[in-house]
Symmetry: C2
Subunit: 238 residues, 2 copies
């Protein structure tokens, strides 16, 4: 059975080779978009059925997500979606500002034409997507920000930034995409960062990047007071 293991038919994500990969990406998406509540128990058997794969890949995927801080592993009591709290959110914001500033400054210091090209391209693609689906825009948005940092040539730092970015995204979904952060002129903020970066003005670029984050942070902060970590993440209905 399980013939579509080697699907490749509807390759939205590039060639989901292994079952573990499939489980990882799908669970990650579900966690980021808030399909699991913070602290919610992640029962192996439910997921196994829902994803139509064995328990081993599920467990492996959850183990991988643990290191991304999206899932918590409880000694011999399985897994649950990471809890959420205002403190956690503020820490993510703080670390993002600090680490991304470091990476951005290094990127600018390492300036190359290839990097400039890639950043401009990423910015353009993001601008194009924004009119269409929110899903695609989010992907392009992350890509733009990561491209800005990618010139730093510090792989571990980049991984940290990527993880923090995702954690932040999760909060945005948890707070509800409803709060239209499109009210602010996001596009102009992005353009400003891009402009400072390719003009190699590190101070200005860093400042604009931080403002970009802090504004979003201020938007979300407060919305989260209602959802401080519940003592037991037991969900009501099935």
């Amino acid at each position: 059975m399980n013939i579509q293991t080697r699907s490749g038919i509807k390759g939205d994500t590039p060639a989901e080779s292994s079952a573990t990969q499939k489980a990882y990406h799908e669970l990650r998406r579900m966690l980021l978009t808030g399909e699991f509540l913070p602290g919610e128990k992640l029962k192996i058997d439910r997921l196994r059925t829902a994803l139509d794969i064995g328990s081993s890949p599920v467990r492996e995927a959850l183990s991988l997500l643990t290191s991304d801080h999206l899932v918590e592993r409880i000694d011999q009591r399985g897994f649950r979606a990471s809890t959420a709290s205002n403190e956690n959110f503020l820490e993510i914001l703080t670390l993002r500002c600090a680490l991304e500033e470091m990476a951005l400054r290094q990127s600018i210091a390492n300036y190359s034409e290839a990097w400039e090209d890639s950043v401009v391209l990423a910015h353009h693609r993001m601008a194009r997507e924004s009119r269409d689906h929110v899903e695609a825009f989010e992907a392009a948005h992350k890509h733009f920000h990561m491209t800005l940092l990618a010139g730093c040539s510090l792989p571990i730092l980049l991984k940290f930034c990527s993880q923090l970015y995702d954690l932040n995204i999760r909060y945005r979904y948890l707070a509800g995409r409803s709060l239209n952060y499109q009210k602010r002129d996001i596009a102009q903020e992005h353009a400003g960062i891009l402009d400072a970066a390719i003009r190699r003005d590190a101070d200005l670029a860093a400042e604009r990047l931080q403002n970009h984050y802090r504004l979003t942070g201020a938007f979300l902060d407060g919305f989260l007071s209602s959802m401080t970590t519940p003592p037991q993440g037991r969900r009501a209905g099935a």
Copy 2:
């Protein structure tokens, strides 16, 4: 069979409850102490036999170690010990300096008597161990450094610092503990950091911490030129 699953008899490490935990800690120890060469293939079956457990816990442990940057997962070709390079080492050093400075400053800003007590205690225990086993000293050394940072109340940052600390340890073992970094007066460096910290002189503490790291870094740098990542981590004999 496998009766000693629930051992608990010789609880060196506090109660190795699950097989996954056992595998994780043992593999982690082996990776940190250089029992696996950088890039070396980690065959499931070998490990399964060596650790006397099934393949599932081994795979799960390796998945967890992947997120600690100690193991690399290759698409459908299993796992291998992380490669090592001078660039990687220098990145670790750079990030350690930056992140630990941030954490230390925050710890000092959050000063409390409880924190002061814990730091003094950790320092004393480290000093006591140093005469005895190297193994125990390493543990106490890490504990001292992490205690210094623990007051910052930023769990994610602490986890990053802990990971980076371990990665650095690995390089120390890879370069051979032979290079007696005891030549320097490590003890005095530690005392200096402790002193500045409990006197709440953030600038001085940060400076001393960075010197502490950079000196060790300078020691190791160069020793590593001979071991830049091999293209294929194939080990010779069994």
